[in-house]
Symmetry: C2
Subunit: 238 residues, 2 copies
């Protein structure tokens, strides 16, 4: 199970608020609490075995990460993401991850590149086409991107992508497992990105990464055009 969490969010953090933050984020991202779920503070506090104080601190942090939406005096619910919003995110990812790929080609250590190669080889060894493994592949895709982002060795970039954007993408992806991926093509694109990084060709790595994300976005937009209100929890306010 790939480790996507930010360092301070490990489950055995020093304070209850930190632990609740980690667990709640996990439950949201993994789909235990689907988008749109109303979260009662008393109920949640009981569920996690803490008082409402630490819980509210965790909620405020998740709100900052846009995983929760809160209305004063009314309540908190799990954030929803419409396809147009997701497309917007992909457009920003294109710029940021393109930059990350360029920096990764320049800054990744030999060990990091080797590790990335192993990860990719492992993905290629999997029988990629069955419906079941689509989910696995999906997480694997994130893992690949995740490593390149870290390979940029730019803390600001890492914070923005991992801390602010990726959780939302993950949440969405788990909710819409039906939304077909394109494993083989994505995999070969990953392969070429890796080759560019191995060649320390930053410009090429950026170009390939931008294309890779751009194609995923186009795929998404095509799906959306085909069935505009596919995700039942799409952001239409009731």
């Amino acid at each position: 199970m790939s480790e996507f969490d930010t360092p301070e969010a490990s489950t055995d953090a020093r304070t209850l608020a930190d632990r609740v933050f980690a667990r709640l984020q996990d439950d949201i991202v993994r789909g235990v609490l689907p988008p749109g779920t109303k979260l009662g503070e008393t109920e949640l506090a009981a569920r996690y075995g803490v008082s409402r104080g630490p819980l509210r601190e965790a909620i405020r942090r998740l709100e900052s990460r846009r995983l929760l939406e809160r209305v004063p005096h009314v309540g908190t619910r799990v954030a929803m993401l419409s396809i147009p919003e997701l497309v917007e995110i992909y457009r920003v990812r294109e710029a940021l991850e393109g930059m990350a790929a360029r920096l990764a080609a320049e800054n990744m250590t030999a060990a990091e590149i080797a590790g990335l190669g192993e990860l990719l080889a492992q993905h290629e060894r999997q029988p990629g086409v069955q419906a079941d493994t689509a989910y696995i592949q999906s997480e694997g895709d994130l893992d690949f991107h995740y490593r390149i982002i870290h390979g940029s060795h730019n803390a600001t970039l890492i914070d923005l992508l991992i801390g602010e954007m990726y959780h939302r993408v993950r949440m969405y992806r788990l909710q819409l497992a039906t939304l077909a991926n394109r494993p083989q093509k994505a995999l070969s694109e990953h392969r070429r990105i890796l080759e560019a990084i191995e060649a320390r060709d930053g410009e090429m790595a950026e170009l390939l990464m931008r294309r890779h994300i751009s194609r995923a976005r186009e795929h998404l937009e095509a799906q959306h055009a085909a069935s505009p209100d596919e995700p039942s929890w799409t952001n239409g306010k009731p």
Copy 2:
């Protein structure tokens, strides 16, 4: 006084936690609480006339924005920013604001463009070289960038730049008023960016914006090379 605050942060928000968040952020960004200041919860609660509950919620949010640094069971202090970190931020700004400029050229309304023109004309009317007005110019620079970011009409981009990065830049800038700006050159660069936007030339707008920020970054790096430990609160842990 330009309005940089995020909508929910207006001073008369519905809850104490929101108001404290806004006031505390303002005190940090405006330099009332300089970087490195230790923040005692009891003392702060008294200062803002609230209990520690809402205060802690505000602290967690400011921590998410990287304006505060917190160590469990030890305390909270105003975040510090070293020049290398700031340079890193400028590199990311280059990518994100370049994109914002391109989108602004494509998406800004005629009214928004007219308003941007007025703002720039107003800056050009100011006697730009005196030491005092450097600060004004400085805020004006941020205002210009701020409008272009919003002109992108991409909510994700706006959130990242305004919500996650700009507060840190603002804080830094106020602390280091001595770090000379380059008002005239920046102003003429702004003028050319505006022209590209008026011509709806997205590619040109992006190119010019990237150059503009890149030059500011180089200026920063040059200053830093000249006096490496200029800011007394630079991030060297004592």
